[in-house]
Structures are given as structure tokens and as C-alpha cells.
């Protein structure tokens, strides 16, 4: 079974994000970039499926500038077999990302596509769902457990009320939640072996997709500074404040 994993290059989660002076976006100059943490979980799940003998090949795909090859290399070091980079310096919004991935799905014909549920930069939580719709596949989002069973996959989903397990016919799309697994680190030999694994670079045009952003960013601002808290004297004072000041109850 072939598994396709999509990974995204994002600002490293340890970095304190800085807004550009002209409020047009986040300043990325000299900022450390890394693989989106939810995508790490997606890669880990694919590698575990391969270790169990369920998956036979893991193809990892990333959309972005040339530097996004670093994240593909990271995935290859963690155990993916080959990489596809869709190179573009343009802004890629969720629907365009889903269209590009759909084109790769058409070409590669994977049985399972695993994505992070969202990326920590734009927090959209859309690409996986859009891809499933475009490709006509079933979707199991916010997965905390993935069990492949013959031509089906059972995906346990984390929802507000608890856990829901859905059975999907393969091929299917799965998006990962945090508790699905704990990603491994890459061993030194695997980091070096990754350099020798195939990595193909294509353009959106090669895939027959024209990027057409539908959303315009008007302004990016830092969130307001948190005001300091206060100590309340009693439970009734707390209730009073929650009711009348915070207006949350």
C-alpha cells in the first residue's frame, strides 16, 4: 500500500512570532523554520504503518519555496521513501494546496493520504477536507488512532464530546491530531541516507494547476498584551465578576 504524506514548512514553534512593521504579515527574515508539528505526526504514522508491514512505500510531498526541500529531507530521514516538491514562491492558500495535492494523488494513486489537521502558521484546518472532497475520498479528520483493516481504515477522531470512530473505504484521507503518536527523532545514519533518497521537483504548472488566491490579507497585528490578573477574596466574588465583568456566565 502506498501512503502519501503532505508536510508543510512553517515558522518553528519555539520562535516568538514577529509582525512586520507595515502590518502586511509575519516577518520571516532569518527566522528558524521547521516542519509543522502536525505534519511530523503524519510522517510518524506513515512510518509506523510501514514498520507494521501495512504500507510499502511512503511518498512525502511539500508545497513551497526551494527551501521546503529541507522539510522533505527531514521526512525522508524519519523513514519516508521519496519526496516530491511542488516549488512555488507564491502564497498558497488551502484550496490551491488541495488542488495541487489532488494532482499528485491522481499521479501517484496512493491508498492513504495523511496530512496534519492544520498548520500552526495559518491555522486554517481546511486542506485535508478539501482534498478529500476534490479526490472523492472519504475523510477521517483529527485522528487519534488509525487502524488499516484490509480495504478499510478505521479512524478514531477526537471530537468535543469524546471519541468517534469512522470506517472509511480506501483510498481515504486522514488528518492527524496531537495524540495520534509521538514522533521519533531521526538517527544520524538515517539523516545521511535521506540525502540519497529521490526528491523530484515540479511546478504547479507541471501539475496543471494555476494558483488563484481567493482571500486577501487586510492587516496582521499582534494580539493585545495580556492584562495582569487579580486575586479574588471569595467564591461569590469570583462568580460575581465572571457574571458582570467577564460576562461569561
Amino acid at each position: 500500500m502506498k501512503v502519501l504524506v503532505a508536510v508543510k514548512r512553517v515558522i518553528d514553534y519555539n520562535v516568538k512570532v514577529r509582525v512586520k512593521a507595515d502590518n502586511t504579515g509575519v516577518d520571516l527574515t532569518n527566522v528558524k523554520m521547521a516542519m509543522n508539528p502536525f505534519c511530523e505526526i503524519a510522517v510518524e504514522e506513515a512510518v509506523r504503518l510501514k514498520e507494521k508491514g501495512v504500507a510499502t512505500e511512503i511518498v512525502v510531498v511539500s508545497i513551497g519555496p526551494k527551501t521546503s526541500q529541507e522539510q522533505i529531507r527531514t521526512a525522508l530521514a524519519l523513514g519516508a521513501d521519496r519526496g516530491i516538491q511542488i516549488e512555488t514562491d507564491e502564497e498558497v492558500q488551502s484550496l490551491d494546496a488541495a488542488k495541487l495535492l489532488k494532482a499528485v494523488v491522481d499521479k501517484e494513486q496512493p491508498q492513504l493520504v495523511i496530512l496534519g489537521k492544520q498548520s500552526i502558521d495559518s491555522d486554517n484546518n481546511q486542506t485535508g477536507q478539501m482534498l478529500a472532497a476534490l479526490a472523492g475520498m472519504g475523510q477521517g479528520t483529527f485522528a487519534s488512532e488509525v487502524v488499516v483493516d484490509g480495504d478499510k481504515v478505521n479512524v478514531t477522531r477526537e471530537v468535543d464530546g469524546g471519541l468517534v470512530t469512522v470506517g472509511l473505504k480506501l483510498p481515504a484521507v486522514v488528518t492527524t491530531d496531537l495524540r495520534l503518536n509521538e514522533p521519533r527523532y531521526a538517527s544520524l545514519p538515517n539523516i545521511m541516507k535521506a540525502k540519497k533518497k529521490p526528491l523530484e521537483s515540479v511546478s504547479p504548472a507541471d501539475l496543471g494547476v494555476t494558483l488563484s488566491p481567493r482571500l486577501t490579507t487586510l492587516k496582521v497585528e499582534e494580539p493585545p498584551k495580556r492584562a495582569g490578573g487579580i486575586k479574588v477574596g471569595s467564591v461569590s466574588e469570583l462568580v460575581e465578576k465572571l457574571k458582570n465583568e467577564a460576562k461569561v456566565i
Binding site: 514553534y13 519555539n14 532569518n30 530521514a77 491530531d177 544520524l188 539523516i191
Partner: protein, 612 residues
């Protein structure tokens, strides 16, 4: 999407990551000061690039944060125990060991064809920086093992290599270095452990060794001791010492463990720090049946051991640097958050207290720590860079410079690392003196470093009595050449020109002092010169680290001066201010040292035992 607020730190320990090492500083040192990317020009490292280096450093950071840091305090509180039969260490140490082995780090420096990774020394040193900062006592086991493997690799026979190396590389076995005896420490020429040749070509070892780190443990299947002993009939003194491989379990064919060898644990020692590493008294051949295998040629043991010792000394320097660094970051974090007191001019008792980092005297203590810690790390990375230039680049001059600097690389961090930790405790005040905070452990751990692998005094004798004059003083010239290159670059920058001028004054003092001492030694006054060797070592350390501070300031200015990012500007300003502190506050002390040295001051030497 409530989960977006989740702290990834819960998974990867990022909240504490910043307390192990300043990653921006490490990146700056590796890629801007020591030009790690250039290493790929050496054929041995041609497969590497920055992406692979970053990946490897990421793996080291993960292992340090997830598998070493969490049990650092626990391993200190719950020392290994010996019930008379076996030693018991914490399960966490075994898990950490497994990760060291699985990551490929144990063999990383060796050739691809030997199961290694041909990893540059510079990157290896940076990985080790993560480990010692997180947990120096657990990190000691892989360091000792790599050091033992390196000696067997360099001097062992083909069959010895085949028998032991694969298992030391894979982590199935660990290694030790067994030099010290109960009555013989620094003066190895007096050692009494004996070796008797038997008919099958192996030796029977008899004697006792003490303070052997990792001498027994329950982490690995077997332990490979490298033991210094005197073959029966060999000359007295250092010329009659040979090196032996003595495994805890003898080896059968195909890597199967054979009989238990006659090496017995007489007891564990109970140390001030580094408590997670067993420190042992070992008895060899009590039953007369301790098998040992000669490594290399007879009577060359000390020379072989020094190969290991030189690496180990750089390793000690790094340990001291990083424990100092850890204490610095802990106390920095505390000072940023601890409100206490007001500014001297604030008379309103109801005003909000300042965080203590606002107080000038606390800044002084943090600045001194920054200078010692970051300067020491730079020094150790310089040593690693020189190893790469020598081994992979074939540059013999880098090897000569490394020889000269090795006592400094061992001693400067070992002397100033504990001082940094002392200041860290002071910044935390009463909290720092309790075991609820980590800095007192840093201090206790770091206090070992001026003692082991050649004490501070031994290092100073090595520098002033030997290293300075080797290769007709070529090392000195090479050092001065490198310093001059930095000064030339720095003095073109307005912000640095003044400090360069100050530095030159003190550099001249070092050069003059060295000349005077050299002449005195030639005139038969070696006793009087060497009496104050520790002062000379301190002087040299200050000039070398002062040079590195100018180098860092120079490179920081080049790299970040035009950056609009506030992080970069703060980083640059911090480096500049620390350089200013070092040049203005630390370096002038060499003038007082020079007075005593140049005058061959006899105050200590002439003191008589009966006068105390």
C-alpha cells in the same frame, strides 16, 4: 479549534530547551564563527551540508531534552548502589543509553566503512554540548565509551578491533580508562599494577585501580577496561608502562560473552557531584586469573593513553563549559522573573518591586557568567574545529596549535565554569542554596572538572613546561597569527577598535612574560618558573578567551549589524557588551599575574612545610 493553543513544549520539552543552551548562540558559533558549512570542502565530510548538520543537532537536542534532562536531578539524589553483588543504576540511565546507541552517535566520528558517520568533530562537539548541559553524569558513559573505542581503533590489532569495536559502537559494551591507583594519581610513573605474559600470548593482570568512572554498572552487557600496567621486568617510571584491554567478561568467537574475568568491584565511591556516574575501586586478578590483552607495543601505554587523554581533556573542558552555561541560563531565567527590591533612587515603598535582573550587581554576576560560559563554549568548539582541520583537512599546523591549546581548553572552562556556577547560586540567593533549584547541583558537578583528566596544576605544568616549547615554539607563532587576523578585522570596526587597542596591551604582556620565562628556564631556573605555572595558565586562558570574545564580537557585528530584527540586534548588543566586560574587567588581571610571573615570585615556593 481549541487545540491550536496546545503547547508543543509538552511533547518536546521546549520550555526547558532554552535552559540547556542558547540555540541562537550555538548556531552563531557553528556557522558564523567556526564556519561549519566550509567543512564540507574536506573530502571526508563531502556528504554533509547545513541541512544535515541541523538535522543531527536537532536529534541531539531531542535526546538531551527528552531522555537526559528529566533524570538529571534524580540521578543526583539516587546514586548508584552496590549490594556486594551487583551495581544498580536508574532505569532512566539505561533508556538514555539505548537512545545514544540507536541515534548512531557512539560511532559517529568513525569512517562510514567502519560503521560510523564521518561526522565532523565540530558538530560532534556541539551535540555533546547538548548532552552535558542536560545531564553530565549520564553523558559520561558514552563519552568514556567513545574514548576507549578511539584508542582501540588507533592502536589495537585487527583482531582486537574486530572483537571489541562493533560492540562499543553499537552500545552493547561500554568502555573505561583505568589509570589511577589508590596510591598513584597524577604521578603515573609510580604505578604498581603488574602484567605477566602467559604462554597463549595474553597477560595476567594484578593490581588495584581507583576513581574509575563507569568501572562497573548494569547498563551494558560487558565493560571494556583500558588498564595501565607494568609488564614484569619492564623499566621503572613512565617508560615501562603498557596498556591492556581487560574485559569484564571474556570474549568467545562471534561476539558471544564467555567467562567472567577476574575483575572485581571492591566498592563504589561517593562523590560530591557527577553522582549518576559510578566511581569505582576495581581489583584486578585477586584470584590470579584476570586476562588482559596488550594493546599495541609493550611500554608505550602512556603514549597511547595520552591520545585518549587529549580527547578526554577537551571533553572535560566542554563539560565544564556547559555546566557553567546551564547555570548561567538558569540564573538568567530566575533573575528575569524574581521581583525584589527597588532602584536606589526609588523612595516610594508602594512602588512595584523590580525584577532582580534590573539591579546592576545582578547584571554584573550574569555578565561574568555569560563571559565564562559562552567564551568557554567557543574555546571548545575552536578545539573541535582544529581537530577537523588536522584530521580531515590534513593541516598539521592546526594539530600543533591544538597541542598547545589543549591544556587551556581543559582548564579555562574547568576553572571558570565553577566560578560561573558560584555566581549562579548567588543570583538565586537562598533559593540557589537549596536542592529545590538546579544550580547547586551544577556547582557540585562542575567542581570535578579541575580535578580529573589531569588536575589544574598538571595542566599548567604541561603548558608552561612542555607545550609552549614544542615544535620550536611553532604553536605560539600559530596562535599569535590567528589572534592577529582577528585583531586586524576587528580594528576596522568603530565599535571594536578601542577594545582591540586594549587587548594589544595585554597581549604584549603575555608575549613579554613568555619570553622572560623561556629565558629563565634556559638559564636553569625551571624550578622558579614552574612554581607559578598556574598563574601562567590563567594568563594564557584569559588572552585566548579574550581573543575569542573579540572574534565573536567581530563576527556578530558582520552578521547582524544590518539586520532589522530585534532578536538579532539584542544578540549583537549582548555579544558586544560581554566583549566589553571581558576586555575591560577580566583581561587587566593579567597585569598582576605578569608581575608575579616575570619576577619569578618565590612566595609560595619558598614557604616551608613547618611554617604552616
Amino acid at each position: 479549534m481549541s487545540d491550536t493553543g496546545f503547547h508543543f513544549s509538552e511533547r518536546q520539552g521546549a520550555a526547558v530547551m532554552s535552559k540547556l543552551i542558547n540555540t541562537k548562540d550555538l548556531e552563531f558559533l557553528l556557522y558564523h564563527v567556526f564556519d561549519a558549512a566550509q567543512l564540507a570542502e574536506f573530502p571526508r565530510y563531502a556528504d554533509y551540508d547545513r541541512t544535515s548538520f541541523d538535522g543531527i543537532l536537532g536529534t541531539a537536542a531531542r535526546i538531551a531534552t527528552d531522555y537526559l534532562l528529566p533524570h538529571n536531578a534524580k540521578a543526583d539524589a539516587q546514586e548508584p548502589v552496590f549490594d556486594g553483588q551487583r551495581v544498580e543504576t536508574l532505569p532512566e540511565v539505561k533508556i538514555a543509553w539505548k537512545h545514544f546507541a540507536a541515534s548512531g552517535l557512539l560511532a559517529a566520528r568513525h569512517g562510514i566503512d567502519e560503521g560510523g558517520m564521518q561526522l565532523p568533530s565540530l558538530i560532534h562537539m556541539a551535540c555533546n554540548a547538548w548532552f552535558v548541559s542536560a545531564n553530565p553524569s549520564t553523558a559520561a558513559y558514552p563519552f568514556l565509551t567513545s574514548a576507549a573505542a578511539n584508542v582501540i581503533h588507533a592502536f589495537g590489532s585487527q583482531s582486537q578491533k574486530q572483537t571489541f569495536l562493533p560492540h562499543l559502537f553499537s552500545g552493547r559494551f561500554a568502555g573505561t580508562m583505568a589509570l589511577t591507583e589508590p596510591d598513584v594519581g597524577s604521578s603515573l610513573g609510580d604505578l604498581t599494577t603488574r602484567a605477566i605474559l602467559t604462554e597463549d600470548g595474553s597477560y595476567r593482570i594484578k593490581g588495584q585501580k581507583m576513581y574509575i568512572s563507569g568501572g562497573d554498572q548494569d547498563i551494558t552487557e560487558n565493560i571494556v577496561h583500558l588498564v595501565l600496567a607494568r609488564i614484569q621486568g619492564a623499566p621503572e617510571g613512565v617508560k615501562g608502562i603498557s596498556l591492556f584491554i581487560v574485559p569484564k567478561f571474556r570474549m568467545q568467537a562471534d561476539g558471544v560473552l564467555g567467562e567472567r574475568n577476574d575483575v572485581q568491584l571492591a566498592g563504589l565511591l561517593h562523590k560530591m557531584g557527577y553522582r549518576g556516574t559510578t566511581s569505582t575501586v576495581l581489583t584486578f586478578g585477586e584470584q590470579g586469573d584476570c586476562h588482559g590483552y596488550l594493546l599495541g607495543e609493550p611500554n608505550k601505554g602512556l603514549m597511547y593513553m595520552f591520545k585518549m587523554m587529549n580527547e578526554a581533556r577537551i571533553g572535560v573542558g566542554l563539560g565544564a563549559a556547559m555546566i557553567g552555561y546551564r547555570g548561567y541560563l538558569e540564573s538568567l531565567d530566575y533573575a528575569r522573573q524574581r521581583p525584589q527590591g527597588r532602584s536606589p533612587t526609588e523612595k516610594n515603598p508602594h512602588s512595584k518591586p523590580l525584577n532582580i535582573i534590573e539591579h546592576a550587581d545582578v547584571k554584573r554576576m550574569l555578565l561574568a557568567q555569560k563571559c565564562y560560559a559562552e567564551g568557554s563554549l567557543a574555546l571548545c568548539l575552536l578545539a573541535a574545529r582544529l581537530v577537523d582541520e588536522q584530521e580531515a583537512g590534513g593541516n598539521q599546523e592546526s594539530g600543533i596549535l591544538l597541542d598547545l591549546l589543549t591544556p587551556v581548553v581543559k582548564s579555562y572552562p574547568s576553572f571558570y565554569g565553577p566560578r560561573a556556577n558560584d555566581l549562579a547560586i548567588q543570583v538565586l540567593g537562598g533559593a540557589g542554596y537549596t536542592r529545590e533549584y538546579p544550580v547547586e547541583q551544577c556547582y557540585r558537578d562542575n567542581r570535578l572538572n579541575p580535578i580529573h583528566e589531569g588536575t589544574h596544576g598538571i595542566q599548567s605544568l604541561d603548558l608552561l613546561g612542555r607545550k609552549l616549547w614544542q615544535h620550536q615554539g611553532r604553536g605560539q607563532q600559530l596562535l599569535l597569527g590567528r589572534i592577529e587576523a582577528t585583531l586586524k578585522s576587528a580594528q576596522t570596526k568603530t565599535v571594536l577598535a578601542l577594545w582591540v587597542a586594549e587587548y594589544r596591551i595585554h597581549l604584549k604582556t603575555l608575549i613579554n612574560t613568555t619570553l622572560i620565562l623561556g629565558q629563565a628556564m634556559q638559564n636553569g631556573q625551571a624550578d622558579a618558573v614552574l612554581a607559578n605555572s598556574a598563574l601562567y595558565l590563567d594568563m594564557m586562558g584569559k588572552l585566548v578567551v579574550g581573543w575569542l570574545w573579540l572574534e565573536m564580537a567581530d563576527k556578530a557585528q558582520t552578521t547582524f549589524a544590518d539586520s532589522p530584527a530585534p532578536d538579532d540586534q539584542n544578540f549583537l548588543a549582548g555579544k558586544l557588551q560581554a566583549a566589553r566586560y571581558f576586555i575591560g574587567w577580566e583581561l587587566p588581571e593579567v597585569e598582576l599575574l605578569a608581575q608575579r610571573l616575570q619576577g619569578l615570585d618565590g612566595t609560595c615556593r619558598e614557604m616551608q612545610p613547618d611554617w604552616f
